[in-house]
């Protein structure tokens, strides 16, 4: 997946479209369908205008042509009036034939066909239409109007000429018609593609948008109130840590990857505050290899693992336990592991279940985010090991953060 490249490029455009999309989606359905109907009417007007305008132009051209180059060979013995009537008939017939052709084309769904199937169909259609045009035209002239054939060229030659002429005309008409529709379809596709990209982007941003757990926030504030009297320096330190976390929470979701070091600081702040609350129920062991600190990771990845460990490994246990966090390079990957006491098969605590968050919603989101960013190269697994513990392991390809 080439997500990172596409994420990096064209963000302003996509965001702009996404904003427009959000506004658009708020418009209620009635409004949308009214707009649709109005668009349809506008299209219909455009068609009538082009169709009538085009054929009128054709007629004018014919009249001018015949007036300028009045040719005995062609005009024969027909009167001036008869000639103009005949020209008007040809134009009217063309208007009607193409008008009905449009109705049939719509009915047959040709507007949605691609180039390749369209070309032979258009050619055949032009031939058929031209044949009708010629046959009906000569039928009316000779049969109905009884104008009498007065040309020195044989009838079959004149009809063939008319047929070829008409075929080229109609082919032109069809080409114009389908060019317009292909162009419009391309436009529509582009808009759809953009809004699709925007909605994918939105989903990603939602996933990236991490918020301080309000339960944690208010409990921490409560502990802090008590701590002010009991241990003022520690209370001051905790206020700073909480401020760091709030700031991080407000900024999160703006970058694709952040240095692991930042993630470490956030997790340290978080765990220090949880230790204020849980005291000796929460013990933490860090094993961070120095070379991993500058490596790039998706934001909140470590925080997700650590919060999960506290929620399922510490909070439900009266005796608490130890959370072990390790990070190191293993070959071409960065391996992050967070271990907490627990049992994967054990039902989540009543409180956690009531909070509506079964095990691993956060972890599942994190796994999806990893997949978006790194494709199959990144993994997140949850294993019941060592015995009596659960280890969440994240493995991502080494990914140095580009320098500022």
């Amino acid at each position: 997946m080439t997500a990172p490249a596409s994420l990096a490029s064209g963000r302003p455009d996509i965001l702009a479209v996404s904003a427009a999309g959000v506004v658009g989606s708020r418009v209620n359905m009635d409004h949308a369908s009214i707009t649709q109907a109005r668009l349809q009417r506008a299209k219909e007007r455009l068609y009538v205008l082009c169709q009538t305008g085009g054929w009128t132009f054709f007629l004018t051209l014919q009249i001018v042509f015949f007036a300028l180059f009045r040719n005995e060979h062609i005009a024969g013995k027909t009167t001036q009036l008869e000639l103009y009537l005949s020209l008007g008939r040809v134009a009217a017939e063309g208007w009607l034939i193409t008008h009905f052709a449009r109705i049939w084309l719509t009915r047959w769904g040709w507007k949605d066909l691609g180039w390749k199937p369209l070309i032979p169909r258009v050619i055949l259609m032009a031939i058929a239409m031209s044949a009708v045009w010629t046959a009906v035209g000569y039928g009316i002239d000779l049969g109905v109007l009884r104008m009498g054939y007065a040309n020195k060229n044989p009838l079959w030659l004149m009809m063939t000429a008319s047929f070829v002429n008409g075929g080229i005309m109609l082919l032109g008409w069809l080409c114009l018609y389908f060019f317009y529709h292909l162009f419009e379809r391309l436009n529509r596709l582009q808009v759809e593609q953009l809004s699709l990209a925007a909605s994918v982007k939105e989903a990603e941003l939602r996933a990236l948008k991490w918020q301080l757990n309000p339960h944690f926030l208010f409990n921490s504030l409560n502990s802090l109130r008590a701590l002010i009297d009991e241990d003022a320096p520690r209370a001051r330190e905790s206020v700073t840590r909480l401020a760091n976390m709030l700031r991080y929470s407000l900024q999160s979701g703006q970058q694709e990857t952040v240095p692991f070091e930042e993630e470490l600081r956030l997790a340290e702040d978080y765990l220090a505050l949880e230790q204020v609350r849980h005291e000796n129920r929460l013990r933490v062991r860090w094993e961070i290899a120095p070379e991993v600190r500058p490596l790039g990771v998706p934001p909140m990845i470590l925080q997700t693992l650590v919060e999960n460990a506290v929620k399922y490994g510490i909070s439900p246990r009266r005796e608490g336990g130890e959370i072990a966090i390790s990070a190191r390079c293993e070959g071409e990957t960065l391996a992050i592991r967070v271990t907490n006491p627990g049992d994967l098969s054990a039902p989540a605590s009543a409180a956690a279940a009531r909070a509506g968050s079964s095990t691993g919603v956060g972890l599942r989101n994190a796994a999806e985010r990893l997949k978006l960013l790194f494709g199959p190269a990144a993994t997140l697994t949850l294993r019941p090991q060592p015995a009596g513990h659960v280890t969440a392991a994240v493995s991502i390809p080494l990914n140095p953060v580009p320098g500022p």
Binding site: P214, H215, L217, F218, N219, L221, N222, S223, L224, R225, A226, L227, D229, E230, V276, R277, H278, E279, S315, P316, R317, R318, S349, A350, A351, R354, A355
Partner: protein, 242 residues
């Protein structure tokens, strides 16, 4: 009033202790760190008032109330942020405090308790569990709703295996206690075992009709009907004639 503070966090307990120092009539009898601990402390100390944290390791605060034998102490819930619990509190107009606790909110909650003038439940008599008075309350939870039901509001108690279905107001939730266990706690002056399955509150009897073979049909206010066999009908007549 003797109060017991139940919270898994030491600092949270300290904070509440400090806030309660301003209230001379509240004596903090002890602290408990979880539901198990709280049960033992309630049995040992017989507090009048519980400050009960909703979220604790293992079982939550509501389940403590389900496990406690009535008469229940007065309860003020404390919670940091729990939309579910706050909804339950508001629905049932229970007292709750949001952490960090606003001292004014604490004053108001305590004032409300004092104003209610509920007689604080005393320790049980020598016989162990005391009988419930009509003013005592039973805590019952079903799904995401919970109630403190005054015993006098109970119209009918129905046996459903190990559970008892309580009928009061418009509700009929299940309580995890057998009907026999409940009956032992109820005052026989007010409650009557109508048959194997049902106990009725005499204060809610609306009318009585003769029934098959010397039995009686007792109609309760609110529209429910209970059948009495001949033998129980005799007991019932004796009781009412007293």
């Amino acid at each position: 009033m003797k109060a017991l503070i139940i919270d898994d966090e030491r600092l949270a307990r300290n904070e509440l202790r400090r806030l309660l120092a301003a209230h001379a009539d509240i004596e903090i009898a002890g602290e408990a760190v979880d539901v198990e601990d709280a049960r033992a402390k309630v049995a040992a100390l017989w507090p009048d008032l519980l400050f009960l944290d909703v979220q604790m390791p293992g079982a939550d605060g509501f389940s403590l109330l389900e496990q406690l034998e009535a008469p229940l102490p007065l309860v003020i819930f404390t919670t940091a942020y729990d939309e579910f619990a706050v909804k339950a509190f508001e629905f049932n107009a229970l007292d709750y405090l949001l952490k960090p606790v606003d001292p004014h909110r604490l004053d108001a909650a305590l004032e409300k308790l004092r104003g209610r003038g509920d007689p604080p439940p005393g320790p049980p008599g020598a016989g162990g569990t005391a009988r419930l008075t009509m003013e005592d309350k039973v805590f019952v939870r079903e799904g995401d709703r919970c109630w403190f039901v005054p015993v006098k509001n109970l119209r009918l108690l129905e046996s459903e295996g190990n559970y008892t279905r309580l009928h009061f107001d418009d509700h009929k939730p299940q309580l995890f206690r057998s009907l026999t266990a409940m009956e032992e706690r109820l005052d026989p002056k007010h409650f009557f075992r109508a048959n194997r399955k049902q106990v009725i509150n005499l204060a809610w009897v609306d009318g009585i009709e003769p029934w098959f073979s010397g039995g009686l049909l007792v109609k309760l206010k609110g529209g429910m009907q209970v059948e009495l066999s001949r033998r129980q009908a005799q007991d019932f007549r004796d009781r009412l004639s007293l």
